[in-house]
């Protein structure tokens, strides 16, 4: 118990003194996960809209498949991307393995199903009378889609928050395709909060693990606070 309290106090000191190592890992985590969330949003929102408003055979099965993929294990995503970008893989020539880019790709793939699924839920949750009203007011297809998105904006925003939360908190794919490397330059390193916590804990550096854990929680809390504030405006 004493060790935990001591570790916690040291962690607070690391944060207050803005320990360069801790700050660099935190910043890298945010940048990589933020980039992955942006890319995933750019794919998931139009894809979700197309699935929700489209009429095609197998629509229900596709939605079921997407929902099943919510629970996609991060190590499976990591393994899949690893196989694709490793030296012997089809994209090996791009030399992406153990780079932040590889981590962004892996996190994008990881959060894509949940963001697509939640986008479908957000759009299908819009009151049918609102949809009828838009048609009835003479909306073109594009005007209809834009206005439905506007109606579902808070639910879509929540989807983005969920995506970011899943991206920043995953560890399996980050270790597999990132390698948890601490290089001399900021952007060639791949050590992020989750991989660093894993490493520091295994090395017995509990205060640093706790510090990184606290920062991870604060980031998650901060994102939620921003979303909640926007939703209540």
């Amino acid at each position: 118990m004493y060790e935990i309290i001591e570790g916690f106090l040291e962690a607070v000191e690391l944060i207050i003194t803005l320990d360069p190592d801790v700050m660099a890992i935190s910043a890298r985590s945010v940048i990589i996960s933020f980039a992955a969330t942006i890319f995933a949003t750019m794919i998931a929102v139009p894809l979700g809209a197309a699935i929700n408003f489209g009429t095609f055979r197998g629509k229900k099965s596709l939605i079921n498949l997407i929902q099943t993929l919510y629970a996609l294990p991060t190590v499976i995503v990591g393994l899949l991307i690893f196989l694709l970008i490793s030296r012997v893989g089809p994209f090996g020539f791009m030399r992406l393995l153990f780079t932040p880019t590889a981590m962004i790709i892996a996190q994008t793939v990881l959060v894509l199903p949940i963001m697509t699924g939640l986008t479908i839920s957000a759009l299908s949750g819009v009151d049918p009378v609102i949809r009828d009203t838009l048609h009835s007011l003479g909306a073109t297809r594009l005007q209809f889609l834009v206005n439905i998105m506007k109606e579902a904006r808070f639910a879509i925003l929540a989807t983005v928050a969920v995506g970011f939360g899943r991206a920043i908190s995953e560890v399996g794919a980050a270790i597999l395709v990132g390698g948890n490397i601490m290089a001399s330059s900021f952007m060639s390193s791949t050590r992020v909060l989750t991989t660093a916590i894993s490493l520091e804990t295994s090395m017995g550096n509990i205060p640093k693990s706790i510090a990184l854990g606290i920062i991870l929680l604060v980031i998650a809390l901060g994102v939620n606070l921003i979303i909640t504030t926007i939703q209540h405006r």
Binding site: I130, D132, T133, L137, G138
Partner: protein
């Protein structure tokens, strides 16, 4: 203006509309009345291109609206629709009303002017910056009406717009409907299950029953000369009695109702099975020795019940068959009647509307 030609619609195995045919003239208020589930909303949705019919045609200004795919948007933009459930976009009242104008690429200056005018008309001036979803149901429905109004549609479709509103809001919406029609000349098709609302607002009424128009006519025609027993029942005629024509001539006839002769005005020939429709308001109840309607039917009977109905009483009399009349409380008191009293029910032959039983 709007022609409905043998329109049919089904959802799965359920047939909702089966051969709806009618014509709505330019500038008129046409009310579609009928019980819940009779297909009123479906019919309006078909006119507004929100659903497709399985059969028949809907023509607006001569154009078959469901056949012209390229013209769908243009046709839809000729119409506005107000739905039963007031639906507001998650934005300000101003933005809610401006939506249709923005779709049409109207300039901001014109939008501002039109929204302000529309808010004045619906009695919500100064509400521009209010969040639409914080409004009451009645206010929200007025916003919906303003939203449909600003696009200046040739045809305004209203699907039970007052179904969930309080009486004050109902009055306001009805006043607006009449005003829009009178001032802007907008053709209005309104559906309602409130037959009296149809009577208050409409130039003509279509009574939709079991997916088809059972009668189309002026409110006076529908309420006094219903085309069938079902229509008579729906428009509130309480006394519907079956009988057989036994003699006829000069537009008048004698009808046998279980051995009791009734005189009525009817062109139907002897031997025809008929239904007699008599409005409660047309029945007079008098003392056995009192004077009935001169030259009318006078049927002795016994009062079986006196039930309060608002400021009136519904008096039921057994004359061999049951007849109901509406009397003021004062009239009941002055007649001194109670359950078991002997009375005479009197009514003129002209008060009896006769329909063939086959039509019922």
């Amino acid at each position: 203006m709007i022609e409905l030609i043998d329109v049919s619609k089904r959802f799965g195995d359920t047939v909702v509309l089966r051969g709806v045919t009618a014509r709505v003239e330019r500038g008129e208020i046409f009310a579609v009345i009928g019980p819940s589930g009779s297909g009123k909303s479906t019919l309006l949705r078909l006119i507004n291109l929100l659903d497709r019919p399985e059969g028949g045609k809907i023509r607006v200004n001569g154009v078959d609206i469901h056949a012209e795919k390229e013209q769908r948007l243009r046709i839809r933009r000729m119409m506005g629709m107000v739905f039963q459930k007031p639906a507001a976009f998650n934005s300000t009242v101003y933005e809610n009303i401006a939506v249709g104008l923005r779709f049409r690429g109207t300039g901001e200056g014109v939008i501002r002017e039109k929204v302000r005018d529309a808010l004045d008309v619906v009695g919500l001036a100064g509400y521009e910056e209010r969040r639409a979803r914080t409004l009451s149901g009645g206010e929200m429905q007025r916003v919906a009406l303003a939203r449909a109004m600003v696009i200046e549609p040739e045809v305004l479709l209203m699907d039970e717009p007052t179904a969930n509103l309080d009486p004050v809001s109902v009055g306001m919406i009805e006043e607006l409907v009449l005003r829009i029609n009178r001032d802007l000349g907008t053709t209005i098709v309104i559906s309602t299950h409130d037959m009296y609302q149809g009577q208050r607002l409409a130039h003509r009424i279509g009574v939709l029953m079991d997916g088809a128009f059972a009668q189309v006519g002026t409110p006076r025609e529908v309420f006094t000369v219903p085309a069938s027993r079902e229509v008579a029942r729906f428009v509130g005629i309480e006394n519907i009695i079956e009988g057989v024509v036994v003699a006829a001539g000069n537009g008048k006839s004698a009808i046998d109702v279980g051995g009791i002769p009734i005189r009525a005005v009817s062109p139907l020939p002897p031997g025809e099975d008929v239904c007699l429709c008599i409005r409660s308001e047309d029945l007079r109840i008098v003392q056995p020795d009192g004077g009935g309607v001169p030259g009318g039917n006078s049927l002795p009977g016994t009062v079986t019940s006196i039930a309060p109905r608002g400021p009136f009483s519904r008096v039921t009399v057994d004359c061999g068959f049951v007849l109901s009349s509406i009397l003021s409380w004062k009239a009941v008191d002055s007649l001194g009647i109670r359950e078991g009293s002997r009375v005479v029910v009197s009514f003129a032959p002209e008060a009896v509307h006769v329909v063939g039983a086959a039509q019922g």
